[in-house]
Amino acid sequence: MGLCKITLGRVKTRLITYDDKFNWNEWFVIGGLCLSIVVLFLLPRRFTLQTTVIYFLKGVVCGFFFDHTLSVLPVSFYDVNDTSQFQLIDFLSYWMYGGFSYVYFYLYDRFSIRPRWSPLYILVWSLIAFAMEWLATTAGVYHYRHGYKLIYSVPIYLIVLSSWVILYYGIKRSATVPYEGR
């Protein structure tokens, strides 16, 4: 692990290099990305094209949002991939979350999950997300810093996946409300 001190604004920070080889973390991202694309095209179509794009993008945006808030100073709880800088593979890694969010919405709609069963559905998916994060951490995609632990992600998943259910009902409701009514 290499360290390099630089000054950003008035806070001294260190650029960390975890590795500089094309290895497990890159393969994990590429595999995840391919899986996302395959899932998107192989699942029978269930939503309009616009809604499909939104459900896919929801996961991507969450990845971008958290990796540009929790993983940057002043908190900087984790780094993504080989260095603490923003690399092409980091950019690609956010797009693999798209498949996750699409399948989440797809199954929620496919099995017509009732609101009273939603907390259980959210818990199951939070555990799936937890398992995937553990796999990604083992592969070297995430490097935790400043005392952050994998288990801290669970409440974040519960909150984020709950907000996805709210988004699902918002979009579903908007499709049934006449245009002039909005």
């Binding site: 630089i6 950003l8 604004g9 008035r10 806070v11 920070t13 309009t48 094209l49 616009q50 809604t51 794009v53 939104i54 993008l57 929801k58 991507v60 945006v61 971008f64 949002f65 540009h68 808030t69 940057v72 100073l73 002043p74 603490s84 800088q85 923003f86 950019f91 956010y94 988004l167 918002g170 979009i171 908007s174 245009y179 909005r182």
Partner: protein, 153 residues
């Protein structure tokens, strides 16, 4: 102070957007919001962390102000602008609507520089103008393409 300014400015734009007549449907509004967040966060992180051209202060208040601007204020202004473009306006009015996000971004950029939140290194304000024009153009392009998907089903 920067955080309060960012939050209140964002909230003012949210109030204005809530009062505006909407020509975009909910899904299109969400799309513009999402794509703005993706484009803005990746570009500014690249400019800051990798290229060290627009270096931001990493103290908590300043960092939070930057996050609010990138993930709430700018996407909201762009959403307003894209929404405004869907209305029946004269080309002069449409030009004003199109230039609104760029003017807002430049205003924030200038204010943040004055407050010491952002420091430019080997970078000119004109480059910022060109960058903001490019980013807004890219987001308009994506929004236009997404609106076409409505016809595709």
């Amino acid at each position: 102070m920067p955080l309060l300014t960012a939050v209140l400015t964002s909230w003012t734009f949210i109030i204005v957007f809530a009062r505006m007549p909407k020509r975009l449907n909910l899904v299109e509004c969400i799309f513009v919001f999402f794509i703005s967040i993706i484009v803005m966060t990746s570009t500014f992180t690249l400019m800051d962390i990798d290229l060290h051209r627009m270096v931001t202060d990493k103290r908590p208040e300043y960092a939070l102000a930057i996050i609010v601007v990138r993930t709430v204020l700018i996407p909201t202004v762009i959403m307003m602008s894209v929404n405004g473009l869907q209305t029946q306006l004269s080309w002069v009015a449409k030009s004003v609507v199109v230039s609104l996000p760029i003017v807002v971004m430049l205003g924030i950029h200038w204010a943040f520089q004055a407050m010491g939140v952002v420091t430019l290194q080997n970078w000119s304000t004109w480059y910022s103008v060109a960058l903001f024009l490019l980013l807004t153009g890219v987001i308009y392009g994506f929004s236009w393409g997404f609106a076409k998907l409505r016809l595709a089903g």
